[in-house]
């Protein structure tokens, strides 16, 4: 790598020499690949911190009563765990890292449409993150509202809510600008011969995601602004003491935050749709169905927010309308799963680590999705709403889904990003430990949730202890798996064997160029196929 020649062919983006040197060559970089890595390192750091905070909560819950921290500390920790993981890890996660790195390459472009805006959104992201971290250390103490900031608790509590909401507001801006950039990139920067329906499916999912980012985030922005004004000036929108309406806050909050779940999961589905054809050497089954189901999820996903509020005292009509729409939004996800299975049929399946992660994604996402049906049905929702059942369902979707999708993407595109390969055996072991730990951690929560263990509880009745103990043991195993996985990848990036341009025999555009890619991605015009997954 150090002795990279300056001849015509391919100076990799990692070695490219620009105007700036050292760290400035990174933090002033407008190259989409370098910005992607900036996001990768920042987000990974936050993810590890968030995971450790999660483990601390699990340790506290290993026995009833006070175990290692006070109730107020616990409330602060689950709040910051939520804010960090949601706004700083899973929402930007896949789209800002892999969307940035591979979206332009997959559509045959040299960069995103607005490279400087792209860097600017990274800076906004970092600013927001710093604010979120600062909110923990300021005088009045860490916010203790939960990441949902429900009024009127959030307007009344003495802790530092304003900083945390400002952080979420700023992070939303970054999300909007990234989405805007991707939409324009997909519309305007595709290689001349690439039509919308000859794009790979990861760009399709990024496209659907970007629209949600652009059209949903403003609603949370204005809601958080109102919450801040409420705390500063008592404008009374959400505080019943002044005639306001706490349920209105929940409506406004979930108008964004439900679609936000699709911001998290859609790119992960896109990643899985890339990995399965490659490792089965099969043309993707039902290309149009998968592409359209992404748009359908994004579209219908706007209209189902009320299922977070089934017990809030909404009108009966609203409750059943939202329940009906919620069941409808399950269909496109099911269609995707069936198409993935059909793609494996009569393939030539090579069970390498990326596919292992992809298949465990399908398993975990199915559990998350199917338990979502329990939550979407009005009668059963009454029992499991606001219990640890929801916690388990949510983590199966977001950690089992988005998280494992993220790990799958990392293992799939790793050789392209770094030009080196990680150790397969260690990757498989880490996967096994992660998978076992994950299920041990979250599955018991379904059961105690159905029995009535409320969420956000610091202390609990003795009958729930078995479930909590198993869950905590799972949490410890999960962290070990996580550590092994990260270690293997770091070792691979630094000392791994050189990776060929196309280690998995993939058919999409990123595998047609050298690893790591050159500064301008394509030295010559890429060959565009009619169907990006053509293996014949």
């Amino acid at each position: 790598m150090i002795n990279a020649t300056t001849t015509m062919e391919s100076v990799s983006y990692l070695d490219h020499k620009g105007k700036y040197k050292g760290i400035f060559a990174w933090i002033f970089a407008t190259d989409h690949k370098r910005i992607a890595l900036l996001y990768l390192y920042a987000i990974s750091t936050f993810f590890v911190i968030g995971a450790i905070l999660g483990l601390l909560m699990r340790l506290e819950l290993i026995s009833p009563g006070q175990t290692i921290m006070t109730a107020q500390t616990y409330n602060g920790i689950f709040t910051v765990h939520g804010i960090m993981m949601i706004f700083m890890v899973v929402i930007p996660g896949l789209s800002a890292i892999f969307g940035n790195f591979f979206l332009p390459i997959l559509i045959g472009a040299k960069d995103v449409a607005f490279p400087r805006l792209n860097l600017f959104s990274w800076y906004i992201f970092i600013t927001g993150s710093i604010l979120a971290v600062l909110s923990q250390f300021l005088r009045s103490g860490p916010p203790d509202t939960g990441w949902t900031f429900y009024a009127p608790y959030s307007t009344a509590t003495g802790t530092n809510v304003i900083f945390a909401t400002t952080a979420a507001f700023v992070l939303g801006f970054s999300s909007i600008l990234t989405g805007l950039n991707f939409i324009v990139t997909i519309h305007r920067m595709r290689a001349p011969k690439m039509k919308f329906f000859s794009m790979p499916l990861f760009p399709w999912s990024i496209y659907a995601t970007a629209w949600i980012q652009v059209l949903a985030t403003p609603i949370i922005a204005i809601t958080l602004l109102m919450l801040i004004a409420e705390r500063l000036f008592k404008i009374g929108f959400f505080d019943p003491a002044y005639g306001g309406d706490p349920i209105l806050f929940q409506h406004m909050f979930w108008i964004y935050s439900h679609p936000a779940v699709y911001i998290m999961i859609l790119p992960a589905m896109g990643v899985i749709t890339e990995i399965i054809p490659t490792f089965c050497q099969r043309k993707v089954y039902g290309y149009k169905a998968i592409a359209m189901s992404s748009l359908a999820i994004a579209g219908v996903g706007y209209l189902v927010w009320g299922h977070h509020m089934f017990t809030s005292g909404m009108s009966e009509t609203a409750r059943w309308v939202f329940s009906l729409l919620t069941f409808i939004v399950a269909i496109p996800s099911a269609v995707k799963v069936f198409n993935w299975l059909a793609t494996m049929y009569k393939g030539s399946i090579d069970l390498k680590p990326p596919l292992l992660y992809a298949l465990s994604f399908i398993f975990l996402f199915s559990i998350g999705g199917l338990t979502g049906l329990v939550l979407g049905s009005l009668a059963t929702n009454i029992q499991v709403h606001d219990t640890s059942f929801v916690v388990a369902h949510f983590h199966y979707i977001v950690f089992g889904g988005m998280g494992f999708g993220f790990f799958a993407a990392l293992h799939y595109w790793f050789p392209k990003i770094y030009g080196r390969m990680y150790n397969f055996r260690r990757a498989n072991i880490a996967w096994g430990i992660l998978f076992v730990g994950f299920n041990l951690l979250y599955f018991p929560l379904f059961i105690i949730g159905m029995q009535g263990m409320p969420r956000r509880y610091y202390d609990y009745l003795p009958q729930f202890q078995t479930g909590h103990v198993i869950s905590t043991i799972g949490g410890i195993i999960l962290i070990i798996g996580l550590f092994l996985m990260i270690r293997n990848l770091v070792l691979g990036a630094r000392k791994g064997a050189k990776a060929p341009a196309n280690p998995w025999n993939g058919s999409t555009l990123e595998w047609q160029i050298v690893s790591p890619p050159p500064q301008e991605n394509f030295d010559e015009d890429p060959l565009i196929k009619n169907n990006p997954y053509d293996y014949e």
Partner: protein
């Protein structure tokens, strides 16, 4: 970097810039859209109080400001036409008028708000805390909505000033005017929002 500049020049894409601006405008529309949702919910709950509270606003000032904004919207649209027709001097003048109009709008707003403050009506004031609920919510909405709108006016003024000087320097010219086009789009957005704010806050009494 030099390489990059050339590379950017090559891929200059006005349609992309315009599309980007439109998407940004969508986000702004939905930002105010959220406020309109809050407004409509409270209006249906407290329609009588909103009715009475709205009488306390000065329709003349509101109407005057509407006219000012509408005219400024036309002048900025004409500035674009002028630049496209390579009439730099007229374009600069029209942008100048637009910024002046924005300034007039703000001065007006200043006096309107000032009068309210003078009567002890401002967010968090003791008087407002004593209002009936609907009354309080109306004024909170009034300050929040017009305040946010005024911030957008200020942002628009800054943007148009930048454009003014760039045209003067010749960076924006009759062959390359997408920056002015986007600035104008933003200004029309500010106008568009006011078109809805005006009847909702001042007229529906």
């Amino acid at each position: 970097m030099e390489n990059e500049l050339i590379h950017k020049e090559e891929t200059r894409d006005d349609t992309a810039a315009k599309l980007g601006m439109w998407i940004f405008i969508f986000t702004e529309l939905l930002l105010f859209g959220g406020l309109f949702i809050v407004y409509s919910v409270f209006r249906t709950q407290y329609s009588r109080e909103f009715h009475q509270a709205a009488l306390e606003l000065n329709v003349t000032i509101g109407a005057f400001n509407t006219i000012v904004l509408l005219i400024s919207s036309m002048t900025i649209a004409m500035a674009l036409t002028a630049l496209q027709k390579n009439n730099k001097k007229l374009s600069l003048r029209l942008i100048g008028i637009t910024i002046l109009m924005a300034f007039v709008f703000l001065v007006n707003k200043y006096f309107e708000w000032g009068a309210k403050f003078h009567h002890g009506i401002y967010p968090g004031s003791e008087l407002m805390m004593k209002f009936e609920h609907g009354h309080l919510l109306y004024f909170s909405l009034y300050f929040f909505m017009t305040g946010l709108h005024a911030l957008h006016i200020i942002a628009g003024m800054v943007l148009l000033s930048v454009i003014f000087f760039r045209i003067k320097k010749g960076i924006i010219h009759s062959e390359k005017y997408v920056f002015l086009e986007n600035g104008a789009l933003y200004w029309h957005l500010v106008d568009l929002i006011w078109i809805f704010l005006f009847p909702l806050l001042y007229l529906i009494t």
